[in-house]
Symmetry: C7
Subunit: 101 residues, 7 copies
């Protein structure tokens, strides 16, 4: 499905579908909203850019791919909606880690 | 039409005609104005610069072309009007993704 | 005329004669002063520097030349007057695009 | 155990399990909360990223490994919880030193 | 005279003797003090540094020389006095252009 | 003694034992607390990191070694305590100079 | 004398003994305290670091040496006292020029 996603992100950006707030992953990661410190959110990658160009003009390969479940900082990226579904466009550098199941 | 556009953007800049506020794309992307977070706008590229020069003086090819429908951050770029039509001049790095239809 | 202009700008700077505020270009670009967002101004390049040096000490060729009509951000550059005529010294990177007529 | 940790950190990030506040390490390092200056916290590394890419696109090897006890600045990184256990995702550059026992 | 000037500026710095405020150059450049925007000042270069070193350790040749009449941003540089005469030490990058007579 | 120090600092960091406030070095350096300007503190290096990696991935050798008495800016680094003794972890670039006795 | 100075500055730093406030140099440079703009101070270099390392790990030679009389920005550097004599540790890039007598 991801390859057909309607938005093709540029550079090192990815499109992410955020997990529901109350959702608990199979792996048991729970992300309460009352934390005093900023907590990461999690989501699933739907589309991946080609990667940024380094200083020598070579494209840097991406470390994530469509389908990966990822953690990302709460206020990073840009939200948008398609047919009332919320998505996020993030830079790969805002992704903290991949959730392995 | 794009090749004849009256403004030739410099470096990695592009000229974009923003979509109407209330417009809904064929693909169903809808961009409400009431969002708490900044949402991207969409538009169509009318003209594309030659690309910026990297640190070694080589020109970096652009990833977008005239006719592309793109998402960009709401407050990026510089607006201007020609014959009462509003345009935006954006740097390519402010373009989040390409809308595929 | 431009080659004889009294100021020789250094590096990637250019000297620009701004267009009159109310002026409308032949091409019909009109720049109202009431815009909520910052709008570019337009002007004509009178003199062009030799270009900046890149990290390897090579001079980066300029993308504009004397006589070009250009758009530039409203608050960029430094104004000065010669014989009561107002000029601007701008860095090339503040030039958004070239107006083609 | 660390190789199986549920989060695989990206780039030069690590996952750390912070030591209890009142805990005193075997080595006798005690970290009071009343200090006027910010004090480092300590913890144990559970998972290590592959390392960041340098300007030439080569991966920079990490200087820490799973199992290392480390000192890190108090407010660095991002907290999250799995099954009510608190973890931190840190960049390696926020790690001040390794505690040798 | 310039070669004997008492201060030898370091790196890409120059020593400038600012023109008198009310002075009008032969070329007719007049710099009123009432401008709403910052205007450049003009002056004559008395001494020139050897140039800064680039990233590869090579010295970047200066684009100005002693005797040049130059325009520079009003608040750039550091003032000092020798025998009640005011001078400025400027970085070359604060020089906007050379006045040709 | 230094080689056995309990903390192994990472990158270009060092562990320093600050000198007592009122202490006067053999060399007679006295550091009053009433100065209007920030004054450096002095201390003895107990442990030294392997050095940072430069842009080409080569390790930059450290300029200080265990046992060196050094001056450092007052508010640099991170304090911590082991068995009620205060230490500082500093980056080498915060060390102003070495005190020779 | 300078080679024996008690502090060996690191990197591109120098140790400077500032001239007395009211002092007038032989060359007649006078630095009043009432200036509206920040004025440089002058002093004599007592000790010079080995120079900073450039991006390729090569040491950049210093442009000043012990004994040089120099001008430097008033608020740059770090003060300290030895036996009630005030000294400054400055980075070479804060030195504006060398006073030739």
């Amino acid at each position: 499905m991801a390859a057909d996603f309607r938005i093709r992100p540029l550079g090192d950006r990815v499109v992410v579908k955020p997990a529901e707030r109350e959702e608990k992953t199979k792996g048991g990661i729970f992300l309460p909203d009352t934390a005093s410190k900023e907590r990461p959110m999690e989501g699933t990658i739907l589309a991946v850019g080609e990667g940024r160009l380094d200083d020598n003009g070579k494209r840097v390969p991406m470390n994530v791919q469509s389908g990966d479940k990822v953690l990302f900082a709460k206020y990073s990226g840009t939200e948008y909606k398609i047919d009332d579904v919320e998505y996020l466009i993030l830079s790969e550098k805002d992704i903290l880690g991949i959730i392995q199941e």
